[in-house]
Symmetry: C2
Subunit: 331 residues, 2 copies
């Protein structure tokens, strides 16, 4: 028994965010053995951040009762754009000062194992496909609703990276070429209608425009404090303004998901982010909105489900990618 | 010399349309050796049509100076929906009475070679990737503008078929969930704004709404006779109404293509259909419309180009698929 567990292979899964880093030890079936999170401290520069990630990871390995040689590889999800083949971060909005950072090479030096780097949203989608809500499906679309709308696409079991590793930007597919101007410069991006921020902003707009709502009391008149949670709570109280905002959100999210379904005919669409806590209040009307915008046969083949892996989806996905697609990263 | 040409392998490429069938003999590099087209005569039923395709194909082989044993395999593009793995046509709008037709098995029986069946629009996209405008690219989106808008997607060199072989319906991705109602039941489909029919219909609407245009004279007052070609010819004469219609068409087509580019980050988007004869009047503003709706890095990686294979794209693509993806069809 002892011998077996000593020789078992583990992988380090990492998720580098603007505020926090998540690190996890994951077995080759995708099961989380142990995990930590700690502040990124990006203000200290890339070299410090990467060294700190390695240090904390080695600590985690020790605390988990493993020896370093039981760690086979490490995968890390990071904001992009990046060259995921070479593991170079080109620059990331949430990591100020990161320009052409050799994340793979530097982390390999400090960790002493082979490293694969990929886009954080792609890792999260891959995680759900490998070990979460879409386990075993060949074709999967992952969508994360947060400040923005992130995405990742898996076709025939492999992550879609594209010509220069920028694939999966589902949040920036447009639902109206004359619509709201997005930070990315395009008009009508899904992100402008279906992110948690967009839900909150739509509620604020409605109230500023004169709509009466219990949301105004909920934030004691300070409209700026409305969040997507405020909207959801008002929805549960049958607040008319909240219902209108929610219905618009569902319509756009449904259309955005339907576009991926009509294009790619996946077995599963996994929706992640705090908003999924709304449960049936989200998924029942969402499935109906998607049904209206898709072919019956295509719709019959897809399940639209909440993510299962929570905040460690990215770390788990990064681990899964270095296990299953090590060839891509030269591992 | 003689011996070499006798042993050279060829493939039969077929494209089954509602009105005509196209048949071509294609070498393993994608070069067209000889070809014919003949009426489908779908009113005579599936058995007759398939037998006739086999007969005409065998004639073509003979006339091309080949023996039947030089034909390695046959690929056929067909309208769907279908089970392309088993080669069964489930039913096709343009082939009345075709319900659960065993196209692969029946054609194999009559031809005596292994057959692969796939969606016609997917075959056309694959043809351009294999031997046409996107030759050698790994990730390609093909869009055909006709009565409708057809599509096909190639990722990492392989055709995307999806969970039940309905992938690639780019014409039915929505650009407005409150937009024009499409025949498919969804709202705001790209097809409703960017098909050749939609261009003509937009012009008719404008003129019926009171817009003055030289198009009215061009069809001698019979507005119904306006086609996308009428619009294009008026555009060349700087007709204001035609310009407005054309600009709207470009905006929607650009946004629809941009959505595929932001999602999939392809090296090439190939646009097919009669409308591409407009040349720079189409492609120059189209590239600009796409640029506005995409990320700079993603846009820099993609070329947006006219199709090169013309009416035999589907037959060539069907041949390419049985050569390169024979495993999928059990060949």
């Amino acid at each position: 028994m002892k011998k077996k567990s000593n020789t078992k292979k583990y992988v380090l899964g990492l998720d580098l965010g603007g505020t926090n880093v998540r690190a996890a030890i994951i077995d080759t079936s995708g099961k989380l053995k142990s995990y930590i999170h700690f502040p990124t401290e990006s203000q200290n520069g890339p070299e410090y951040v990467i060294k700190n990630i390695a240090l904390k990871s080695l600590e985690l390995i020790g605390k988990s009762g493993l020896s370093k040689k039981q760690i086979w590889r490490a995968g890390i999800g990071s904001p992009g754009p990046m060259d995921s083949k070479k593991g170079i971060i080109m620059g990331a909005v949430n990591l100020p000062g990161w320009k052409r950072v050799f994340l793979k090479d530097t982390l390999e030096k400090f960790l002493g194992v082979g490293v694969g780097v990929d886009n954080d949203a792609n890792c999260a989608a891959y995680g759900e496909r490998w070990a979460g809500a879409a386990k075993g499906a060949s074709n999967v679309v992952g969508i994360t609703l947060g400040t923005g709308v992130g995405g990742g696409i898996i076709i025939d079991g492999r992550l879609v990276r594209g010509a220069n590793y920028n694939a999966g930007e589902i949040g920036h597919t447009s639902l109206n070429p004359d619509g709201r101007l997005c930070k990315c410069g395009a008009k009508g991006c899904l992100e402008m209608y279906a992110s948690a921020s967009a839900i909150a902003e739509s509620a604020r707009e409605a109230i500023r425009g004169g709509a009466s709502s219990i949301m105004t009391e909920a934030v004691r008149g300070d409209i700026k404090k409305i969040t997507s949670k405020t909207v959801y709570e008002a929805l549960l109280q049958n607040d008319k303004t909240a219902e209108n905002v929610w219905n618009e959100f569902i319509k756009y999210l449904g259309a955005g998901i339907a576009n991926q379904i009509n294009g790619l005919n996946p077995e599963a669409v996994v929706v992640a982010g705090g908003v999924i806590n709304a449960g049936d209040r989200l998924f029942t009307p969402l499935r109906e909105a998607v049904r209206r915008q898709t072919f019956a046969l295509t719709f019959s083949a897809v399940k639209i489900v909440p993510a299962q892996l929570g905040e460690f989806a990215g770390a788990i996905g990064a681990a899964g990618l270095v296990i299953n697609e090590g060839d891509f990263y030269g591992l």
